[in-house]
Symmetry: C2
Subunit: 307 residues, 2 copies
């Protein structure tokens, strides 16, 4: 089934201990769409400037992504420059230029109104709610957010949390929303604020999904998927968005939302995140084979599988 | 088979957000012995002062632990006072008094010389090597260490690493020994220094075992065991030692060291660590039932089990 992502399509410039990327294609919706494209048909809604040319668009088109929802405006695309030090879990932002993204007002075109799976990447929660309301027949809605909205736009964020089925955030964000240093308690507090499922991404330790009691009819026990220890993390940018793409993409590809589907989605999320960090930008996500994905999935399973 | 632990038997005083413990029984060897006692016969070598009375000894004796290797000396037992703030992964040390532990010179009595499984808890690596050499027929030797020895006694530590089969440390210690910010690379570097297996404990994220190529004839793929997200971490003291006790205890209880045995040992380690933190000191480890342990083991398995 079709999966729609609304978020940033942008340019990045990344420095890490493995070198410098130069100006490359980036953005949450880009990572998400590429990762999800290995599982289902993906549609993108975003805004870009004059610097986004056919060359960039073809990166998505080659993966079968429907780019007709990308609005072209006069000006520059969103740009982010960052640097990763010894701790690859923390990026130092060197430059941010919103460009045309500053006036992003996503509208779902008529032809996308049949979309059943929706992912609201990290944008203003007011826009996230607007988009969600334009798609009342969506079956499953996932969303992301970040510290900027948690700290400065709390009422809007609280509203957004009531409009989504699954929130995908990291440890620090979960604790920040809950105002609690305990991850386990934070999970329960965030679930009480709206989403039926909460996926907390632990970086190199994997990710855990927590459920509200009886959510989706699949009980309330949490489930954790690992990631393989990676020696060469070239560029951690987009790992979380790639996780979300693998996760939502796999769910959208399945007829029913069972506990097993959720579990496998968590593993596929980890798999796509682990590929994303192996090269600068979206390079690794552009040319994967299904065989590579299946082999890593099997390796992840073996990593924690007890007879 | 008998499992011998050499390390501290001590008193602790712990403050956490759940209250204050008062002066209670602690020490790495104590936590280890209690956790391991649910799987195999345990022997302890330690030194204590006059303050260690029959009341404390009975805590171990009631769990079937052989305490005849605990040497009583004139003076005070090792004492540690600490406080856990909002971040339960970091203790603030308020007081340390070495007492008779300052002259600890562990000797293995003749009757313990048939021991096949040995755990060298966190003590001076010179003493760890001395003990290991007194037990040349040991089948499997595990060891622990800490930042103090890593930074200040490097040559002795390097020697110790060549004398053990499995090193059990946490993320920060692994990176410190390797001098590398990447956990995956650090694991390979530490393995190259001696141990055939390296168990890295990730706190609330579980633990991963890395193997040297072909170690124990069970390949080189790592294996990760999770821990359940715990909402009420009353006292994290001894969690790592309890992990080690469950891990080594289970291995000592099995005839052969297969990959499946190693995997289950990792899970049992996580199980015992998770019980330890639920109450102050060793309280929770004193009165567990095999049923409680098996139920939590099943819950841990379900947490990551993919069909």
């Amino acid at each position: 089934m079709s999966l729609l992502v609304v978020g940033s399509v942008a340019f990045d410039s990344v420095k890490s201990s493995f070198g410098e990327s130069g100006r490359i294609l980036g953005g949450a919706a880009t990572y998400f769409a590429l990762a999800a494209s290995y599982f289902t048909q993906v549609r993108v809604i975003a805004v870009v400037g004059d610097d986004f040319t056919d060359k960039e668009e073809q990166v998505l088109v080659r993966r079968g992504v429907d780019t007709s929802g990308i609005v072209h405006e006069k000006g520059k695309s969103f740009f982010w420059a960052g640097e990763y030090g010894e701790n690859v879990n923390e990026a130092k932002t060197l430059d941010t230029q919103l460009g045309v993204f500053g006036n992003f007002d996503p509208q779902i075109p008529e032809k996308f109104k049949d979309t059943k799976y929706l992912f609201l990447a990290n944008i203003d929660p007011v826009l996230q709610v607007n988009v969600r309301k334009q798609l009342p027949t969506a079956k499953f809605v996932g969303g992301d957010t970040m510290n900027y909205w948690i700290n400065g736009h709390r009422e809007n964020l609280n509203h957004m949390l009531k409009e989504i089925d699954a929130l995908l955030i990291n440890d620090a964000e979960a604790k920040m929303i809950a105002g609690d240093p305990s991850l386990a308690r934070s999970a329960q507090k965030v679930l009480a604020m709206g989403p039926r499922a909460l996926v907390i991404k632990h970086g190199e330790y994997g990710a855990t999904v927590f459920f509200r009691d009886g959510a989706f009819g699949i009980g309330h026990h949490p489930f954790r998927a690992p990631t393989l220890p990676i020696e060469k993390v070239t560029d951690p940018t987009g790992a979380g968005d790639s996780f979300a793409g693998g996760f939502m993409g796999y769910i959208a590809s399945q007829d029913k939302l069972t506990r097993e589907v959720f579990k496998r989605a968590m593993f596929y999320g980890g798999v796509m995140g682990s590929f994303a960090v192996e090269a600068f930008g979206t390079e690794r996500l552009q040319n994967l084979s299904r065989k590579e994905i299946d082999e890593r999935y099997a390796a992840f399973r073996e990593l924690t599988h007890l007879e």
